[in-house]
């Protein structure tokens, strides 16, 4: 489903190369974890997948279902089924959360040639998804993410992911800022989305989240490259022995 080939990318503003020849393949139905120390390029990779303009791909390609997405803007990528759960979701004053959800869902339906959702159906979907994530509907009456705690923001990201039903989910440090109860709820939300036709990429610094969302593959990112891939036991190994061993082998 996702194939990243020899990807090189840099920050547009200052030309710093962050991704330096990254290769990664994730199949439909797979849950892949990307781990790595701070500064290895994990969040940059997530932004590049979503199409953020601050980064420029200088070499290589990103194929999604066999098609390059490099020329697509963020909205086109999203409507084609790519979803990024942000590490730091934006607070947007003045944009009501419910209005935002309705516009996003209907824009995606429009792109797929479907009719906009009727209001009762829309409300039902939001209520059901919020209940699963133990979210208060009153929170959704507020402006988007404004005044939400760190944990509430992460839940709101997963809520959006559930409602938009993407095919490729990228979760950037979704566990950061979550207490253990919230982590369980969020993980259950993600696990419920596991499906044969859906791939999930989990970007995380710690193994903790992977106890709840068990990955099919684990990839270690270091200095903009995948330096080692393995199954879930690799994550346990990293937890026990740290990144130094793996990085040492690569260097």
């Amino acid at each position: 489903m996702l194939e990243i080939r020899n990807l090189h990318a840099r920050i547009v503003d200052d030309g710093t190369e962050i991704i330096r020849g990254l290769n990664l393949t994730v199949k439909a139905g797979e849950v892949a974890a990307i781990m790595g120390p701070n500064g290895s390029g994990k969040s940059t990779l997530s932004y590049i997948l979503a199409g953020r303009e601050d980064y420029e791909v200088t070499e290589g390609d990103i194929l999604y279902n066999g098609q390059s997405i490099l020329e697509m803007d963020p909205a086109e990528r999203a409507t084609s089924g790519i979803f990024l759960a942000f590490q730091y979701p934006m607070e947007i004053p003045g944009v009501a959360t419910m209005e935002f959800l309705k516009v996003a869902m209907n824009e995606q339906r429009k792109a797929r040639g479907e009719e906009p959702l009727k209001i009762p159906e829309f409300l039902k979907r939001v209520k059901d998804a919020a209940a699963l994530l133990d979210m208060d509907m009153a929170m959704l009456k507020r402006p988007l993410n404004v005044g939400f705690s760190g944990g509430e923001k992460k839940r709101a990201e997963i809520l959006q992911m559930k409602l938009l039903e993407p095919k490729l989910c990228v979760l950037d440090e979704t566990d950061s800022g979550l207490d253990i109860d919230a982590l369980k709820i969020v993980s259950e939300g993600v696990n419920a989305l596991r499906a044969p036709d859906r791939a999930i990429v989990i970007i995380t610094h710690y193994q903790r989240l992977l106890q709840y969302i068990v990955p099919d593959s684990v990839h270690v990112l270091y200095r903009g490259q995948v330096v080692k891939s393995g199954d879930k036991s690799l994550a346990l190994d990293l937890e026990a022995n740290g990144y130094a061993g793996v990085i040492g082998q690569a260097a």
Binding site: A50, G51, R52, E53, D73, P74, A75, R77, A78, T79, F83, L84, F86, P89, M90, I92, P93, G94, V95, E99, F100, V103, A104, E107, Q108, A111, P143, Q160, L164
Partner: protein, 422 residues
């Protein structure tokens, strides 16, 4: 030897002076009112204000007012539904008030033409300063409007909407409202119409002790209209006024806000939205006097500038020498969406007291790219996402009004503007 030169009159000045001679016999008013009219036209004869007059520096009326339409008695203004559903409407159509007035408990309504005829409105017709061109224009020509008296202790459950609707030509209207002690009301001032009109509209509000008023000015004139408006208020002891101004139309617009806190504990809030498009000029000028101790004010103005539009906000706060413990905060934020648009902000604080908290700030920004990315990353196309963010920028000010029916009604006006200028 004295060399006195009078600059040549502009076509607009000449048209106004001629119109006064033509209209004089039709204008209502007793002797005192007619004397005020004479003074007013003398002020116009000495010339419309230019940029050399400080308060008109960014709006050179003499240069910008290029033509003045004739009065058009045949014009028919269409009645429109009130902004907030269920409001009691007091319409002025083409400058003429209605003979059928709603009967509401605690409210006395009188046609302003009657108050002019019997002279009882005369004291309110004085200019507030030598640079009061809008006051002079209105005093010279005003023929009608309403006088509304809300009795002490009255609490209105529905808004009153004062409508000034025109269909071209000239209209000069005045609303005078007294809100009694402890009374509570929401008043909408609706300014709309079509055609190449010249409109002057003056609203005078007196808040007695403890009165609580939300006054909403919704200005949606045609993009061919000149709209010169003035809102003057006196706030008594513990009186509370929230003034909301939305400019979403007009070719040449000046809205003056002149507020004076005359009683301790008075509280004034100004929230303004200027939606500017096309080749237009819109000026909001506020003069606020904190004349007694322990009064508070906050002003927030949000502007969206597109096309070749030009906007101005002048906010002057005078804190008088005895007005200790004044708390005043003013902010003006502009979202500049085109290279050809411009917005000028002039905050002025004149503080003669030494124990006060006063501040002001002005910003000019573009759309936040990280916000845009976030919305687009959810599948919202760039144009729609930009629209959401621009609307959000101004909707924030509306949401602060904190009354669901009013917020919804104003957001509907906002949506209307965005659909027309998307």
């Amino acid at each position: 030897m004295n060399i006195h030169t009078t600059p040549q009159r502009t076509p607009a000045e000449t048209a106004l002076i001629d119109a006064f001679s033509d209209r004089l016999s039709l204008l209502p008013g007793d002797g005192t009112v007619m004397l005020k009219r004479d003074d007013a036209i003398e002020a116009i004869k000495s010339g419309l204000p230019t940029r050399r007059i400080e308060s008109w520096h960014y709006t050179d009326l003499r240069r910008l007012l290029t033509s003045v339409p004739d009065f058009d008695p045949a014009a028919v203004a269409k009645a429109i539904a009130p902004v907030v559903e269920g409001s009691a409407v007091l319409p002025v159509l083409n400058g003429v008030s209605s003979t059928k007035l709603p009967d509401i408990d605690g409210i006395a309504v009188q046609r302003l033409s009657e108050k002019l005829t019997d002279g009882s409105i005369a004291p309110g017709l004085d200019a507030y300063g030598a640079d009061d061109a809008i006051g002079a224009l209105n005093t010279a020509f005003v023929a009608d409007g309403y006088f509304v008296d809300i009795a002490d202790g009255t609490e209105l459950d529905k808004p009153i909407e004062l409508q000034n609707l025109q269909a071209g030509g000239q209209t000069h209207v005045r609303f005078s409202v007294r809100v009694g002690a402890g009374a509570k009301a929401v008043i909408v001032e609706r300014q709309a119409g079509e055609g190449a009109a010249l409109v002057s509209s003056v609203s005078q509000l007196l808040l007695e002790e403890g009165a609580d008023v939300m006054w909403l000015i919704v200005q949606e004139q045609a993009d061919t209209a000149t709209h010169l408006a003035q809102f003057k208020a006196h706030l008594g002891k513990d009186a509370k006024l929230t003034l909301f101004v939305m400019n979403a139309g007009g070719n040449l617009v000046r809205q003056e806000v002149v507020v004076r806190t005359t009683g301790e504990g008075a509280d004034f809030t100004l929230r303004g939205i200027n939606l500017l498009a096309g080749d237009t000029h819109t000026d909001v000028t506020m003069v606020l006097d904190h004349a007694v101790p322990h009064t508070a004010s906050t002003e927030v103005i949000r502007n969206v500038v597109t096309g070749r539009a030009r906007g101005v906000f002048q906010g002057r706060i005078n804190v008088h020498q005895y007005a200790q413990k004044t708390n005043a905060k003013m902010a003006c934020n502009t979202l500049l969406l085109s290279d050809d648009g411009e917005f000028s902000t002039k905050p002025e604080l004149e503080i003669f007291a030494d124990d006060v908290v006063c501040g002001h700030g002005a910003t000019v920004t573009e759309i936040d790219h990280s916000h845009l990315f976030y919305l687009m990353a959810r599948g919202i196309d760039e144009k729609t996402a930009r629209g959401l963010l621009v609307k959000a920028f101004v909707a924030e000010v509306i949401e602060e009004l904190d009354d669901e029916a009013i917020v919804e009604a104003l957001e509907a006006r906002l949506d209307g503007w965005f659909v027309a200028h998307g």
